[in-house]
Symmetry: C2
Subunit: 368 residues, 2 copies
């Protein structure tokens, strides 16, 4: 034997790369996409004030970012009416989920999620040796009651719930989530992933009770604020939990330009309102396009519309492949029965017109 | 008991924050520093081309960065004469060290480093349950022979060596490093942290033999390239090791603006040459200032000069405190006997003049 000695856990993990970005597909295809509608990026972009702040911060990038993220945390705390001690900033929700799983999950520990929910969370759980218990959706909705029941039965350390949901776009009202939080088993932690919350109806998020040890909320600047490439996420939770991140996190992990950009983006709530309006228009147009082509658009509280192609997973995969071959980057749910759908991100009129032009051809080719 | 169930490992980690940034100190002091010379940031800044590229990338930040870091890896591979399969890009060397330790180190695994070397590496080793074996420096140099010996004796999975060294600024020639690599015990991995290599004499880094499974090199855009706040590091190593990072890394962890900036910085080697010249001038001036004040400047292959204050750790800590109270941000080695020194980063004439003005007062106060 030669080479380094990996831990048994890491040696046993799959070497396949689970995350294929659009650039990888473009390189494989040999040409760029004409419309980038697969990763739920906010094509309307960040606030012009955030762009300006980041452009001007470029010359200061010789300095490390503040490892405390003090200014951003203070602004977020004021925005949410909580204390800075309730907030941890990290390298996107993906980064924070990795830290959180590391903090709680070791070999044999159980974690409950929905079958077909966020794969990056599952990647982290497997990566730390946890055992995933997957609960079926109830139709197009995550099943809050079944998640609680599975956590109780399995003694899970963590429950993952996204509200609104990705990949289905569905959501629960604040009362359902409130009821779920109240039912979280003793010493289990509910991860409430609210990545899309800024684009959802305003009554779906229960009031933040920041010192509640049963729930941690995950938020991001990637979706509503249009800064996916900046990697700025944050969690809101009880101070003891927030402090524990400091035991393990990459303290100097945040890009300084991103810190500055997020602060400027947060201060421009008028731009966020404008984004909400544009996303709503795009959802309406995506629903119209779906319906005009015989697909069933699902209701969405996010910046994407999931479209039921009306047949099985193989058919939807064909539709997806045909769209991609027509230079439209879209994605679809991985798991049956959701894999009867494709998932299309909101965007401006030009992108949606390209999608509208490609869809009938793609459906024809998939049917033929 | 209430609250989440941390792993026994994480529950046992210290809750103290090990990394205090200058901003934290500024907030505590109630006023900013006049010269930022403590974190070995490159105050000369990145290439103007990199600044321009980052400023212009700000408007594209709605897109996630390429999770493969394809373009940057390709450019780095060409630059170093290796294959892209030999390179992994990550969130600074800090981030890559965290991933690497996670890949190899579990409870009870042994890791060898020098007593007084990079504390962030030790943070990661402890954070994954490893046992640190610390070898004394040989004078102001890391002791390559003793590191190998300790690794052999303890069956270490990892050895950490920085060349040039931080915090002492010392270095070994390529032949010494080559000999050390050849002596790495079977199935031990040497981490050769070359964070400062772009600022060192050209003959201190042995030729990269990229498929050698005994060594992985860590490089960064934080020092010579002046982009500490961008968080771009990379490792060069054997393809099997590089591929293993994909099992666990935060695939979408890189800031898109930083990717673009690093690519532009790498392409401007003329700027790097200019930085090398300015750093050399600053080292000369820092040596002059030290000597004029009765301190002994250590030889440096980095962008800092470590100055022996000629007495014990308490005295150097007093000097440091007096400098900080005079608005000069500097740091010092943590561990005896190195804590007889202070460590001052290279910078432009104005910063160094501020340091030169403050140092005699600080020494007087510390002596008084």
């Amino acid at each position: 034997m030669t080479g380094p000695r990996y831990t048994p856990l890491v040696a046993g993990l799959p070497a396949t790369v689970p995350f294929v970005g659009p650039e990888t597909q473009e390189r494989a295809r040999g040409r760029p996409f004409a419309a980038r509608l697969g990763a739920n990026e906010n094509t309307f972009g960040p606030s012009p004030k955030a762009i300006e702040a980041m452009a001007s911060a470029a010359r200061d990038v010789w300095m490390y970012g503040d490892p405390e993220n003090h200014d951003l945390k203070a602004a977020l705390a004021a925005h949410h009416g909580v204390a800075p001690a309730n907030i941890i900033v990290g390298e996107g929700i993906d980064g924070l989920l990795g830290y959180l799983v590391r903090m709680l999950v070791g070999h044999g520990d159980t974690v409950v999620t929905s079958d077909g929910a966020y794969p990056t969370f599952n990647f982290h759980v497997s990566g730390f040796g946890g055992t995933l218990v997957k609960v079926p959706y109830n139709g197009n909705h995550e099943d809050t009651g079944a998640l609680i029941e599975a956590a109780t039965r399995s003694g899970a350390k963590l429950i993952y719930l996204a509200n609104p949901d990705n990949p289905m776009g569905s959501w629960h009202g604040a009362r359902v989530i409130r009821r779920m939080i109240d039912a979280v088993p003793d010493r289990t932690l509910l991860i409430l992933d609210e990545a899309y919350i800024e684009l959802a109806p305003e009554d779906i998020s229960p009031a933040i009770e920041p010192d509640d040890p049963r729930v941690v909320r995950m938020r991001t600047f990637s979706k509503g604020y249009g800064m996916a490439g900046a990697r700025v996420g944050y969690a809101i939770g009880a101070p003891a939990l927030i402090t524990a991140f400091n035991k393990i996190r990459n303290h100097f992990g945040m890009c300084r330009i991103s810190q500055v950009g997020a602060l400027a983006a947060l201060s421009d709530q008028a731009w966020l309102a404008e984004i909400r309006a544009r996303v709503e228009m795009a959802r309406t147009e995506l629903r119209r396009i779906a319906t005009a082509n015989g697909l069933t658009p699902l209701a969405s509280a996010t910046n994407f519309v999931t479209m039921d192609c009306g047949r099985d997973g193989d058919f939807a995969r064909s539709v997806l492949a045909e769209l991609i071959s027509r230079d439209i980057f879209v994605r679809m749910p991985f798991v049956a029965p959701h894999d009867r759908c494709i998932r299309v991100s909101c965007s401006g009129a030009e992108d949606l017109a390209r999608f509208a032009a490609a869809l009938p051809e793609a459906l024809g080719a998939a049917r033929g």
